[in-house]
């Protein structure tokens, strides 16, 4: 078949990038014990802030910084809500998703007068961000499993009480890695903007959730999560080419169906961090 050519594998890598970045971020925060399902909304916020700054400053580099900063800020918000105020993690993440959706529709109307979309704005070559993503993933694989900081991160997610006893600040560690997760999701959003050249409110399109799925399938490890993200990116690239052969609605379903099948097939074997989702209360003896 002519659609299975070299270009397909290349565009799969490109489409895998935002998913892999979200998966990496989620790997960090869940390793520290914090689930963040707000990654979908944070990536959207990253893409929007990237579009706004690129549009007004004309500088894609500045826009990239803005996307990462906004992502980090939303990560911090999630951390304050869940780590310090002990809100339910999934509920807080869901609230972030809804909040960002509201703001995205509102701000696009306020700034450009169009509901949910931006005009095209200056971009950088998205391949740079693909490279950055791959580098960060390789680096993280080493960081998490072969450095003392990585060990501290893992122990906070596995046994926060032990970490606390050993002098590790559980709250601050969780805050740090949730912020890092936010920053990486912001980067994913920046990629999506630079990939398309403008903002639309549907541009994340479930890739945040697929990123979580990739992390789960990758068993909370950056490199296997990348492999899973590549699989999703491949199907995404494939479905675009299939649109010439089958109704577009069916090809557009493929990544989502694949995610469900893969999650159903792979999970159960995953080694979930033991303290995942549980707020830590220091006072309890």
């Amino acid at each position: 078949m002519e659609i299975l050519n070299f270009n397909l594998f290349i565009s799969a890598l490109r489409l895998a990038t935002p998913i892999a970045l979200v998966a990496l971020g989620e790997t960090y925060s869940e390793r520290a014990g914090v689930i963040n399902v707000g990654v979908e909304g944070i990536a959207l916020a990253g893409a929007l802030s990237c579009a706004i700054v690129a549009y007004f400053s004309g500088s894609p580099a500045l826009a990239l910084i803005a996307a990462v900063a906004v992502g980090a800020a939303l990560g911090a918000l999630h951390a304050i809500w869940t780590v310090y105020l002990r809100a339910d993690q999934v509920v807080s993440g869901t609230a972030i998703n809804l909040l960002v959706m509201g703001f995205a529709l509102f701000l696009t109307r306020v700034i450009w007068g169009w509901r949910g979309t931006s005009p095209s704005a200056p971009t950088m070559n998205a391949w740079i961000l693909v490279g950055v993503g791959l580098f960060l993933i390789a680096l993280s694989q080493v960081y998490i499993f072969h450095t003392p900081w990585g060990l501290r991160l893992r122990v906070v997610g596995e046994h926060p009480r032990a970490a606390d006893t050993a002098g590790i600040n559980v709250y601050r560690t969780r805050l740090f890695y949730t912020v890092l997760n936010g920053a990486l999701c912001g980067l994913a959003g920046a990629f999506l903007f630079n990939n398309l050249g403008r903002f639309t409110d549907g541009m994340v399109g479930g890739r945040g959730f697929i990123g979580i799925a990739a992390m789960v399938v990758g068993n909370y490890r950056p490199l296997p999560a990348l492999a899973a993200a590549y699989l999703f990116g491949f199907v995404d690239a494939l479905q675009m080419r299939l649109q010439d052969y089958i109704p577009s609605q069916f090809s557009l379903m493929l990544p989502y169906i694949l995610t469900v099948i893969v999650l159903a097939g792979f999970l159960g074997k995953a080694q979930v961090p033991k303290a995942l989702g549980k707020p830590y209360i220091k006072e309890q003896g």
């Binding site: 105020l85 809100a87 509102f106």
Partner: protein, 351 residues
């Protein structure tokens, strides 16, 4: 009465806080705060017609709120109400234009079709969660996309139910299947009454039956429930199946009462509003009635501020997002409450 106050107090606090932050956002983006809030209130509750608009928008949101909260009570997250709503809407419309049935029976059959379609779309992630351990908040979301694309294809050109040339929609449902309207000139239908009735049924199910007790026990502590002889697997599947059925019913009601045919992408996000509604209601079925009216008021009010030209309608969506955000952190409200008396005490010593 006291218990009511305890439940409602923090929510009222969160709404006030959200309106306050919403006012700041309004001012920062250069809109007139008094004009916006005046139009918001008038658009939501200004006269009978506007009140009817609020309740019309609240109707599907009530169903999706119930959908979210019944799963939430069992410790599960149904993020996919939007897709379940679409499937329910389509199958209700299908039953509406396919069958020849007498009035009263016809809408009931349509509702059952809608509920069944939604139930299937809830059962799948429920089964996958209970038997395979697949994260239901990811799978419900993914299946939601699948349902929306599927229904889009059904009414798209080339699809089997492309009913009219000028739009992607089915033909009209039979008049025997339609819900009567409650107010001349407004879209408000019997749907809201069905919704309130269902809310009471869900309340009864959750709090007055052994089945509801089991669902809630699974939500509170699955291990303890299992130890106490409750079948956790079955209850998880049941909770998400019921959640799907409720969202599907919402879609069905929307078709029978408001649109009278299935239209591609007809929902402006009622599934998402249900998450908000369920959370704001603190997962209480009767609270969901109030929460849905709040969401409906924000939607109707939002449209009014847009019509009056004082600000974009989506400002209401921002306020909605803020309300949820403040509702989900009960500690935050407690923190503020602790601050207030402390400040008062400081004031005393100064005097």
């Amino acid at each position: 009465m006291k218990r009511w106050a305890r439940e409602l107090g923090p929510v009222a606090g969160a709404i006030t806080l959200a309106l306050g932050v919403g006012a700041i956002v309004t001012a920062l983006t250069g809109y007139s705060v008094p004009a916006v809030f005046k139009q918001l209130a008038l658009g939501a509750f200004g006269d009978w017609y506007q009140l009817a608009q609020t309740l019309t928008q609240a109707t599907p949101i009530l169903f999706t709120s119930l959908s979210f909260l019944i799963a939430f009570r069992a410790g599960l997250f149904n993020i996919g109400a939007e897709g379940q709503l679409y499937l329910g809407a389509f199958f209700a419309a299908w039953a509406g234009f396919t069958f020849k049935l007498p009035p009263v029976i016809h809408p009931i059959v349509c509702l059952l079709f809608g509920a069944a379609a939604g139930a299937v779309w809830g059962f799948i992630p429920g089964w996958l969660r209970a038997k395979r351990g697949a994260n239901e908040f990811v799978t419900t979301m993914m299946l939601s996309y699948v349902a929306i694309y599927l229904t889009s294809w059904l009414v798209a050109p080339g699809g089997p139910y492309h009913g009219t040339q000028w739009a992607n929609q089915t033909v009209r449902i039979a008049t025997t299947a339609q819900f009567p309207r409650l107010l001349r000139g407004a879209q408000l239908s019997w749907g809201i009454i069905v919704g309130v009735l269902i809310a009471f049924i869900v309340w009864y199910l959750l709090f007055r039956t052994p089945r509801g007790y089991e669902l809630r026990a699974v939500g509170q502590n699955p291990l303890a429930a299992e130890y106490g002889g409750i079948n956790v697997t079955r209850n998880m599947i049941l909770a998400l199946t019921l959640a799907g059925a409720l969202a599907g019913l919402g879609g069905a009601v929307e078709i029978l009462g408001t649109h009278r045919r299935f239209i591609e992408l007809f929902s402006p996000g009622y599934g998402w509003d249900g998450i908000a509604g369920g959370l704001i209601a603190r997962a209480h079925p009767l609270g969901a009635i109030l929460a849905a009216i709040l969401m409906g008021a924000l939607r109707a009010g939002g449209q009014a501020i847009d019509r009056a030209g004082v600000a974009p309608a989506d400002l209401a969506a921002v306020i909605q997002g803020l309300v949820i955000f403040f509702v989900v952190a009960p500690e935050l409200i407690r923190y503020f409450r602790r601050l207030v008396p402390r400040r008062a005490r400081l004031g005393d010593t100064e005097l």
